[in-house]
Amino acid sequence: MSLAVVGCSPSGEEAAFPSRAIEIVSWATPGGPTDLLSRALAEAAPPHFEGRRVTVMTRQGGAGAAGMQYLQGRAGDPHVLGVFTASGTVNMATGRIPFSPGDFTPILRIQIDPFLIAVRDDSPFHTLGDLFEAAHARPGEVSVSGFGAASAHFLGFARLRAAAGDPDVRWIAYEGSADAVVAALGGHTDAAHTNYNIVREHLRAGTMRVLGVALPVEALPDTPSYAEQGYDLTPVHWRGVVGPPGLDPALRADLRARLMAAIEDPGFREYMERAALEYATMADADAFGAWMAEEVATSRDMLRRLGILDE
């Protein structure tokens, strides 16, 4: 009797983490970059979680809100994790999802996927300056295609455009980044705002060129970054792991250490390389939390400036 009571005590449970399978809640499109990160993590994690099964559980809907709600409802449970992205913080800023970074426990930012602007090989533009000058000269006639409206891509571009003196460049929203690239490849828009991995093969084949990249990419040594072209900003797409709210600090540190080990796994490294993504872990979990809060604030400022958000 007394033994059973000891077995159920909170300290007993903590010592036993992980006491069952780990769930990664995925609210992203199947096969898309965020879903792939969840799955690569599920592959690499088990050895670092005492051999426990790590499963990806799909809960899509409400621009991610359905999955986030599930995660939020599992307060204090270290066995449930989710992959959070720049889209999540932008959706928080627009109010599209009824959550704030404080509703989750930030654990580990894993990767960044810098934005870039690409054009078809026969484009008259060679630098970001060319693109924005043309837009200043012919307002409303230069178009850039990219994923979504009031999305992370849109805000990344809006910030760049603001730094260039707000020329009238048309943002043509598409359902996906790949669709936006097709629009530029087909000559329907002048340029595409996208990520490196989506245009990588076209860059290698010479069918597309990059005008500028938000952060220097190892694979693009000759492409000047936004900063090198005089636009002092580094908008990136990022993805990281968060837990449910109210995670015990010791468990949070434990989870972070285990995930850090998992992403060093050779299989995971291979995935990162193949998907052309860069590691971008931060100093600690608090820094990741501060980053998320800052992302929400920056997005909100830009949305207000554009008149999309009131106040």
């Binding site: 199947p30 898309g32 879903d35 792939l36 690569a40 979504g148 790949a178 629009a183 093969e201």
Partner: protein, 528 residues
């Protein structure tokens, strides 16, 4: 050619063949289960492929994709519920044939046409990769708008005997598509402040609601068909002569599937409806479409399988997924370190040829797996609708939920079930509403996108030859049924074709799907 045989040898290695076979079985299952689709099947095996080498992983995925397009027609034919959305058009004639007691014949025609379409789509993929990929990117906002309007003009052939009710149905579909986030501004529309409606009302819940739940309500309220559709239903397969006699239909369907399938985002559902409609247009007896004509099954089924090879064209040549299923495939390829794009053919030609050969083997395995399943399905058809339909509803709701793990989808299906039931009671055809929901987003977003590019000038739709031709075709297609029936009634009073099947005559108006009502059309014209 020798490269192709090397590819064939690769595809026939035991491990690869096992992957192809597993894919066929899973694909037919995912396709046939209402709620699941090729996309879901692919997403399910995605984690499994992580552990495989690139070749078997890729072969398993293409095999699932191919087999699911046939699988969708099984439930469409057997119980009138499209197993996945590209089989929607197959319900028109396929289910009508089943109700006549010829389920085996209908399934046989579907399987043969799916096989032929799959092979022809592969031929297109191999021979026209370059030109078709260039044609695909020529589709910009104006062209997509034209394609959407052309697709919507098919409503004219789906409205049934009462054009007013058909148009109301189409408008209802267009109204439903508005729900959700506006793609171009990100603003929520008609969501009533709820998160559940943010992603809009999906096609899958609509298909489940309209074709499974509404039908089940009809069955359990005893309003229709209390007897099984045709006692002593024939499991007999079609004769070879009948199948080969469909070669023109299959060629046309495959060509339509191949062209529309290669355009990113257009997809197999639109292609199969267009193929059905074209077949009806060229037919000498268009009024009999929807009453169980072999060509009405062969055309959409050839088209949706031909789309599989075609959807690989933008994926392989440009690295751009042409469909939701191709997007999952791209994810799988990325993990395998295979980067599709302009250089794939030169750098990984052995893999590409193994893929081509894999398509051929996958089609043949689909034929074998499908053939073995036909006796089983013709037995399912013999169940009493009052038992079968609630079962179908239960399975469908589970399928709808598992699609995204979201209970809101199951609620949406129930909502559409009630809407569909009310529409059936009121004599409103359901197919136009489905077409509205599918094409509404394509038309609206591309219309606004085009105007945004042209600074508000509508001339953008006329300057593009593709868009202009499509819009003209749409006008012709929309007006054709009315003009033709006027001509016919002016010339001769066509005798009323007796296409109602004896034991299966319903007491209510037969508005299950639009075209069904077509056997009533001449009657309607005589009233004028």
């Amino acid at each position: 050619m020798s490269a192709f045989f090397d590819g064939l040898l690769t595809a026939l290695q035991p491990g690869n063949l096992a992957a192809l076979l597993a894919g066929s079985l899973l694909g037919v299952f995912a396709g046939a289960m209402p709620g699941l689709s090729s996309t879901v099947g692919l997403a399910l095996v995605l984690p499994v492929t992580f552990a495989l080498d690139p070749t078997p992983a890729l072969l398993m995925m293409v095999s699932i994709y191919m087999a699911a397009e046939y699988g969708g027609s099984i439930t469409a034919i057997a119980i009138g519920v499209p197993g996945s959305s590209p089989a929607l058009a197959t319900t028109f004639d396929g289910y009508a044939m089943t109700r006549r007691g010829e389920a085996g014949r209908a399934l046989g025609i579907s399987l043969f046409s799916s096989m032929s379409g799959g092979l022809l789509g592969t031929v297109l993929l191999v021979l026209a990769l370059g030109p078709l990929s260039r044609a695909a990117i020529a589709f910009g906002p104006a062209e997509y708008f034209g394609l959407g309007v052309f697709g919507l003009s098919i409503v004219a052939n789906l409205v049934g005997k009462d054009p007013f009710k058909g148009i109301v149905s189409a408008l209802l579909g267009l109204l439903f598509f508005i729900v959700g986030l506006d793609v171009l501004t990100g603003a929520p529309r008609l969501t009533f402040g709820t998160n559940a409606l943010m992603d809009g009302l999906g096609l899958v819940p609509m298909l489940i609601g309209f074709f499974a739940i509404a039908e089940a309500l009809e069955a359990v309220t005893g309003r229709r068909r209390s007897t099984p559709p045709g006692d002593g239903i024939a499991g007999a397969l079609p004769k070879a002569r009948e199948l080969f006699g469909l070669w023109r239909t299959i060629l046309r369907g495959s060509a339509i599937g191949g062209l529309i399938g290669a355009i990113p985002g257009a997809g197999a559902t639109i292609a199969s409806i267009v193929a059905w409609n074209e077949e009806r247009r060229v037919s000498k007896t268009p009024e009999r479409f929807g009453t169980g004509l072999p060509a009405g099954i062969a055309a959409p089924e050839a088209a949706n399988n031909s789309c599989v090879g075609a959807a690989m064209i933008p994926l392989l040549a440009l690295g751009i997924p042409g469909s939701a299923s191709a997007a999952v495939l791209l994810g799988g390829l990325t993990v395998q370190g295979v980067a599709p794009g302009p250089l794939l053919m030169t750098e990984r030609s052995e893999l590409v040829y193994a893929l081509y050969a894999g398509f051929v083997v996958a089609v043949l395995l689909m034929l074998a797996v499908g053939r073995l399943g036909i006796p089983l399905w013709t037995r399912v058809v013999r169940l009493r609708p009052s038992i079968l339909m609630p079962l179908v509803v239960a399975i469908s709701l589970v399928g709808t939920f598992s699609l995204r793990g979201n209970a809101a989808d199951a609620w949406a299906a129930l909502f559409f079930g009630l809407v569909g039931f009310a529409m059936l009671r009121g004599g409103y055809p359901l197919a136009p509403a489905v077409l509205g929901l599918i094409l509404g987003p394509m038309i609206e977003t591309n219309y606004r996108r085009a105007l945004s590019l042209s600074s508000g000038s509508h001339s953008i739709f006329l300057e593009s030859p593709i868009s202009l031709v499509l819009i003209l075709l749409a006008a012709v297609s929309f007006a054709a049924p009315a003009v033709r029936s006027r001509l016919i009634s002016g010339r001769t009073r066509a005798p009323e074709p007796d296409t109602h099947d004896g034991p299966d005559t319903h007491d209510g108006p037969d508005t299950h799907d639009g075209p069904d009502a077509y056997d009533n059309e001449p009657r309607h014209e005589e009233h004028e």
